[in-house]
C-alpha cells in the first residue's frame, strides 16, 4: 500500500458515506400489558427487487432483548456480530450479569453516533425492546423511547393507527392484532413490503421469543378492484 503512487487527477475521492444495497423496510414495536412486541416483514429488497423473502429482521440479543432492524441488512448482521460478541464475553465472565435492553440501546446509540461522526454510518434504524423497555436508535445516533415505535414507512402509515388504537392495557392478542393491521396497511401501500411477517415478544417471565414467519390475510374486496376504468367512456384508466 505504501508503494502505490496515486495520481490525484485520476483517482476519485474516497467515499465513506455508503448507500444501502440490500434493505429491509419498516419495523414496528409496541408495549402491551405484560411485555413488549416487535413486528416486521421478512423481505430484504435489492433496489426495487424483492430478492430475499425469508430474511430475519428481528433477532434476540441475550435472553431478554429484541433487536429489529430496517435499512442495510449487512450492517444489521455486523451489529448482531458485535452484540453477540458482547454476550459471549458476559457468559465468559459468568457472574450472573447480562446486558439488558436499556443498556443495549445506550451502547448502540454510542456506536451509531460514532460511525455517523466518521461519515461512514451503519445504515440502519433499529428498534430495541426489553420486558419493560422500547426504544429506537437511528443511523445518525438519535434515540428515543416511547410506548410504540415505527421505522421507515411505518412512521408515516403505522404511527397514526397506533396513536389511535393503542392502550396501555392491551392484551397480547390485541397487541398482535394491532401490529398485524399496521403491517397489512404497509403491505398495501409500501412498494418494499411483503405480507409474510414475524412478530416477536419479550416478557419478564418468558424472555425474548421471535415467531416463525407467517402470511397475513389481506383484503381484496373493495369495489374498485372489480370495476374496470380503462373503457372508452372513461378518462384514462386510473
Amino acid at each position: 500500500m505504501a508503494s502505490l503512487h496515486l495520481n490525484a487527477a485520476t483517482t476519485a475521492p474516497s467515499q465513506h458515506t455508503k448507500y444501502p444495497i440490500v434493505t429491509g423496510t419498516s419495523v414496528l414495536g409496541l408495549r402491551y400489558d405484560g411485555g413488549v412486541m416487535v413486528a416486521a416483514d421478512t423481505l430484504c429488497s435489492y433496489g426495487s427487487m424483492a430478492k430475499y423473502k425469508d430474511a430475519r429482521r428481528i433477532r434476540t440479543v441475550g435472553p431478554a432483548t429484541l433487536l429489529g432492524a430496517s435499512g442495510e441488512y449487512s450492517d444489521f448482521q455486523s451489529i448482531m456480530d458485535m452484540l453477540e460478541g458482547m454476550e459471549q464475553q458476559n457468559d465468559n465472565f459468568d457472574d450472573g450479569h447480562s446486558t439488558d435492553a436499556q443498556q443495549t440501546h445506550s451502547y448502540l446509540r454510542a456506536v451509531m453516533y460514532q460511525r455517523r461522526s466518521k461519515m461512514n454510518p451503519l445504515w440502519n434504524d433499529l428498534v430495541v425492546a426489553g420486558p419493560n423497555f422500547l426504544g429506537l436508535v437511528d443511523k445518525i445516533g438519535t434515540t428515543y423511547t416511547d410506548n410504540f415505535i415505527a421505522t421507515g414507512f411505518g412512521s408515516y402509515l403505522a404511527i397514526p393507527i397506533l396513536r389511535k388504537k393503542w392502550r396501555p392495557t392491551m392484551s397480547e392478542g390485541e397487541a398482535r392484532g394491532l401490529l398485524e393491521d399496521c403491517l397489512k396497511v404497509l403491505f398495501y401501500r409500501d412498494c418494499r413490503a411483503l405480507n409474510r411477517i414475524q412478530i416477536a415478544k419479550v416478557t419478564e417471565e418468558g424472555g425474548a421469543v421471535v415467531s416463525e414467519p407467517y402470511e397475513i390475510e389481506t383484503d381484496w374486496s373493495a369495489a374498485s378492484f372489480a370495476t374496470t376504468k380503462g373503457g372508452l367512456e372513461g378518462d384514462g384508466g386510473w
Binding site: R189, S221, D235
Partner: protein, 222 residues
C-alpha cells in the same frame, strides 16, 4: 440513495421526474388463433409509496383494440386519449373498424415524434377482421415491433426466462390466459413496483371479456 435507486430501475423509471407517478408495472399481451389476451398488474407508485393499488392499466382504444400502459401514468393517459381520438376520426373517415396495425402505428407515431418528452412503454393488442389477434410492442423511443408474446414494464425483466420457457405458438385461449396470469404473478412477486391484482382482457371475434384476480388468489406469490 437516489443514484443507486435509479441504477436499478429500467430506463423507463429512471426518466421520471421526482414525484411523478409511475405505473411501475408488469404488462403483457399474447395473441392466440382468433384473439388476444392482455394482462397487467394494478400498482401505481410515486417513489416507494403505492399511490393507487386498484388502477386499470389496460386502456381501450376502440371497440376491439386495447393497450397496456407502463411508464409515466400521465404520459400514457395522454397518449391513450390522443390515439382514441385519432382512431375515432379514422373510423369515421374510412367507414371501417380500425385494425390493430393502424392503432399501433398511430401510437408509434406519437411516441416517436415526442420521444424526448415522453416516458411511456405501451403494448397494443386487439382483434380485427384482417389480421385476427395481433400484438405490437412499443417501448421507449417509439420502436414498434409485432410480437408473438410481448412483455413490458419494470416487472417484465424478471419474467423473460419464464415467458421464453412457457410460450409456444398457437396455444389455445385457455392456455394463453393461464400463461399470462402465471407470468404476471411471478413478476409481481419479485418487482417492488408491481403488485395488487391482475387484470386481464380477452378480445376475440365474439367480444371482450374483462376479468381480475384478487391479490390473495394469484397463481404465484406475492
Amino acid at each position: 440513495m437516489a443514484a443507486l435507486a435509479n441504477s436499478f430501475l429500467s430506463p423507463e423509471s429512471s426518466r421520471l421526474k421526482p414525484g411523478e407517478l409511475s405505473t411501475g408495472t408488469t404488462i403483457m399481451a399474447v395473441p392466440f388463433p382468433g384473439g388476444v389476451v392482455l394482462g397487467a398488474d394494478s400498482r401505481v407508485s410515486t417513489g416507494t409509496y403505492i399511490a393507487n393499488r386498484t388502477s386499470d392499466k389496460i386502456a381501450q382504444l376502440s371497440s376491439k383494440i386495447f393497450c397496456c400502459r407502463s411508464g409515466s401514468a400521465a404520459d400514457t393517459q395522454a397518449l391513450t386519449d390522443y390515439v382514441r381520438f385519432y382512431l375515432q376520426q379514422w373510423e369515421v373517415e374510412t367507414g371501417r373498424n380500425a385494425t390493430v396495425k393502424v392503432a399501433a402505428h398511430l401510437m408509434r407515431k406519437i411516441c416517436y415524434q415526442n420521444k424526448d418528452n415522453l416516458s411511456a412503454g405501451v403494448i397494443v393488442g386487439g382483434w380485427d377482421e384482417v389480421d385476427g389477434g395481433s400484438v405490437y410492442n412499443i417501448p421507449l423511443g417509439g420502436t414498434m415491433i409485432k410480437m408473438d408474446c410481448a412483455i413490458g414494464g419494470s416487472g417484465s425483466t424478471y419474467i423473460y426466462g419464464l415467458t421464453d420457457a412457457l410460450h409456444k405458438p398457437n396455444m389455445t385461449k385457455a392456455e394463453t390466459v393461464a400463461m399470462v396470469k402465471k407470468s404476471i404473478s411471478h413478476a409481481m412477486a419479485r418487482d417492488g413496483s408491481s403488485g395488487g391484482i391482475i387484470r386481464t382482457c380477452i378480445v376475440d371475434e365474439s367480444g371482450v371479456e374483462r376479468e381480475y384476480i384478487p391479490g390473495n388468489q394469484l397463481p404465484y406469490g406475492p
